[in-house]
Symmetry: D2
Amino acid sequence: MRVVEKREDGIVVRGAKAHITGAINSHEIIAMPTRALEADDKDYAVAFAVPVDAEGVTMIFGRQTNDLRRLDGDMDCGNAKYATVGGEALVIFDDVFVPWERVFMCGEYDFAGELVEVFATFHRQNYGACKVGVADVLIGATANVAEMQGIAKASHVVDKITEMIHLAETCWCCTLACSYEGFKTPSGAYMPNQLLANVTKLNITRFPYEWSRIAQDITGGIVITLPSEKDYRNPETRELIEKYLKGVAETPTEHRMRMIRLVENLSIGAELPESMHGAGSPQAQKIMIARRSNLEMKKEMARVIAGIKEDEHFKRIRGVSEKEFFSKLKC
Amino acid sequence: MRVVEKREDGIVVRGAKAHITGAINSHEIIAMPTRALEADDKDYAVAFAVPVDAEGVTMIFGRQTNDLRRLDGDMDCGNAKYATVGGEALVIFDDVFVPWERVFMCGEYDFAGELVEVFATFHRQNYGACKVGVADVLIGATANVAEMQGIAKASHVVDKITEMIHLAETCWCCTLACSYEGFKTPSGAYMPNQLLANVTKLNITRFPYEWSRIAQDITGGIVITLPSEKDYRNPETRELIEKYLKGVAETPTEHRMRMIRLVENLSIGAELPESMHGAGSPQAQKIMIARRSNLEMKKEMARVIAGIKEDEHFKRIRGVSEKEFFSKLKC
Amino acid sequence: MRVVEKREDGIVVRGAKAHITGAINSHEIIAMPTRALEADDKDYAVAFAVPVDAEGVTMIFGRQTNDLRRLDGDMDCGNAKYATVGGEALVIFDDVFVPWERVFMCGEYDFAGELVEVFATFHRQNYGACKVGVADVLIGATANVAEMQGIAKASHVVDKITEMIHLAETCWCCTLACSYEGFKTPSGAYMPNQLLANVTKLNITRFPYEWSRIAQDITGGIVITLPSEKDYRNPETRELIEKYLKGVAETPTEHRMRMIRLVENLSIGAELPESMHGAGSPQAQKIMIARRSNLEMKKEMARVIAGIKEDEHFKRIRGVSEKEFFSKLKC
Amino acid sequence: MRVVEKREDGIVVRGAKAHITGAINSHEIIAMPTRALEADDKDYAVAFAVPVDAEGVTMIFGRQTNDLRRLDGDMDCGNAKYATVGGEALVIFDDVFVPWERVFMCGEYDFAGELVEVFATFHRQNYGACKVGVADVLIGATANVAEMQGIAKASHVVDKITEMIHLAETCWCCTLACSYEGFKTPSGAYMPNQLLANVTKLNITRFPYEWSRIAQDITGGIVITLPSEKDYRNPETRELIEKYLKGVAETPTEHRMRMIRLVENLSIGAELPESMHGAGSPQAQKIMIARRSNLEMKKEMARVIAGIKEDEHFKRIRGVSEKEFFSKLKC
């Protein structure tokens, strides 16, 4: 994405932004660089907003797991109320005009790295809330299925559901911590702790795979073999499904089916790669964690404790030098 | 599933078998009990074979991940050549007649447990071959995508692909070991080692989740956002996709897309719950591992080494008693 | 531990408290129940403080990993400055008299469960700080050893040290979150969030094992084979050790040895079981997590989203009932 | 280690071999190169055998976890019968003469890489047997402790012991598989499968940490706080220990103490870093796995299945070309 023309009233941009979540449901697209830039990349140092229907904008909607089922409507969709739309689009800007009042960066390449880092921090911060919200529903759905299938009290089931909760709450702790440890910037806006925001997101590239695995363990193979709603609504087959897919007496078969579809929807498919790559891939977080971790200070502490360097703070704190203190201590 | 009538020429069975893989692609269905049975369950102690189109047999095909895409044919299907059909069915037997020559068990409830265990052993043995074959293709596809995206030589990518190989080969080792450690039964048939067959399958309920996670890590978010083949074939959008989804110069965009679809097909969806529950759920394997592990012998060894029990084999092997031997050893 | 006599001026207690960390370094011992109690356990519902040298108190000091090395003094001790003393003791109270002003509970059995839970919460909260402090030093020591051995820039070493940091910071996030989410009690004291405090501690029963494993990976086998300080100080062998255990040119052999000993001290031995069992064993945390997780609310959310229960909050929030809203939405 | 002089009757070698397990218990030392060598390294391409007391050989014995306890003799040692001696030594060769009949390599630098790889293969093969033998005793000891402490039937304890068994048997499978898949060399000797031998060892750098972690979980904090044998033998304290460290009624306190010491001995300390680095560090195995995995073949399979390359074997197997076959298949 770069500036191809500067006019008195604005700029013309050309390029594409790959797989933007929710792009087709939005009113506006805000575009910005995705990595640090050098002087030679000046034209690529551009950030702006345009309406989604601006001239020259084309969106190519991507395929998501089980996308066609959403058109089927209700049960088979898995999350009938809230998941019928949504997905990612390749957004192409074919010489799109942007008036100056909507241009936020234009040529300031030396700020690109910082801009990316700041944006990524906010995005990574929220992953421990977003995906843990999903996890809460998945945990609830899995517990419901266990109950409907009569195994909710089996010790291994209780243990596994507790493990799901533990994993989800660990991610929740990360989001809370990076938020609480945030700081006020001179502008008055708040900024999360950058190290901990990256820690949050890196856990999200791992833990959802494990809680989904457990959800599938408890739900059973039926999570990928459940008959279609059409067969369930078909009088010829309905009775057979009612009879043979019945769980415990007090649960209607349809309820069990709906709950299994919800587990399927939340634990199989796009949800997981989205956890992996949304807000940046794990390697990006590892690089940021390494950069923000103050490893030199840790190395220094180890040198002091190993006795190969004197502790500079000792005398200030205790009134005697480290050496003196320890020489007196020994008998 | 139980016998509802015994006639001179055969039996009549009623019941269902839940989510049978490949049922609709088969010529015959062989049914058998799924757990140990008691005297009261006598009617359920039944094993037999019937053609899939026997009178009274109904199959309700289940939904699998991305099932509708298979009808689209080629690219979007992910595995165009070999995955167009297949899936699980709920197989219902509504008073199906089975002639005696196709009845293998009828009332011998005390053999049900053993039959299940033997069958499960064979099925669990082969999971380290079946899923590792899938893993080999997934590893190859992931390595191809990495190359096509120009990241094949990045150290973290090399490390992660090696990790996928390591995990797959570990499962392969398990299948090999339980097979080599098999034994010839009096009938002349071979039986895998039961402990190790269960170990094999238990690993398959875990490792494929991890190798799929790595495949998605390396492939990138595009694994769930790739535009459809229809958009690619559409002259209006084709050029844009060609331009903006191009990988390295020497790879046609279509090749990259096909390879990403293959990763999607093998790492997202039915493949994983199938690894979890095919041949029995993890808890079933844990029970069998506990039962077959000879824990008492391990406890005995520990008692000898801890010195709270004399080693019975010592004198036989060394000519002197343990006590004598160690008393002489000390100086 | 129970009350064996009540007098006008105080009580007499009898019993023991098993493996109390730091007991012999303390001025006073505060004893309290360790589980919920029933009416029959009334005499066991006792909490009090006594000086460590009160009449009738006996301490039997336990053995810790490499305890005898501490007497050797400096290098071999691993953490010469701060680890020379410390350990756990079995504290026995053989009819110890406690004056009333130092008795905090005496017979109020129905508060025992709550007292234990409150105490455990505080103790579990701080584990993500305590052990992460240890981890910071271990990370620093490992990074120093890597540098001293000339491998600090190898990509797998950088990746592994970053992983150590990530694991440690995850635990740190947990401690922060349970603290920030704490609340003021009527007494004015603060109480950490109990669910998250237990999540903190459960992670501490796992992650330190992994970061120690990585520390040992990077340090090399020398972490358990390093010659003794005595051999290093011995003129006969010193030169050989100097020559053959030299790392990079700029690091004195002694510095490398001291740093390896620090890694040994922090990653092998008591540190890990202490992470496991201090403040309660993992199963205790799992029970608390299950109890505090509000699973019913999660199940409720899943029922609403699966469409088997109407959302009670919907009308209040949006002005129309859920049913009406969704019926209008569809076209 | 290099040749410093060649004489008519033999060679003179100088150098050192770092931390050689069992060196001081051996009759002879066999030395060989530890990595591939180039022409410039010619003098380092030397392999030979010498008696441990050859002139010029010095051994500096390293410290191991809890080494001083072994001198205490019985209980506190943990594994009184079989662990009293053993450890690693830095073996220095200060101009040691080796007669020609004991020289196996002298200057053939181009064989050094192969020699190392072959040696490593054998050593890595056996790790899944060696450490699984240790694991079997540890599993038995842990199960005994659980019984002695009255928790053997708790569902989480049963589950965790089964997990230990599962992990150990997985490693055992690896050793079996690389052995069974071995092949006869022209010399008549057998060679394990190199890929799978490396897979075996890489698992050994991970799984023992986990099974040790579980052993410590079940055993409890007492694994690092148990009073010393001296206190147990001391009449003043013995009765207190007998009373307060008693487990279930039928187990003598001493038996429980001995069993806890055995768990300590096998799960804390040298055992784990030894699993990590014996027969080469994990990175060495990763490199070998990458090299031996035939990744190109996997990439080729993926290309065929993704439909970007024709299957060369198809026509030979099925009589028609792939293209023809699939074009007929579609309707």
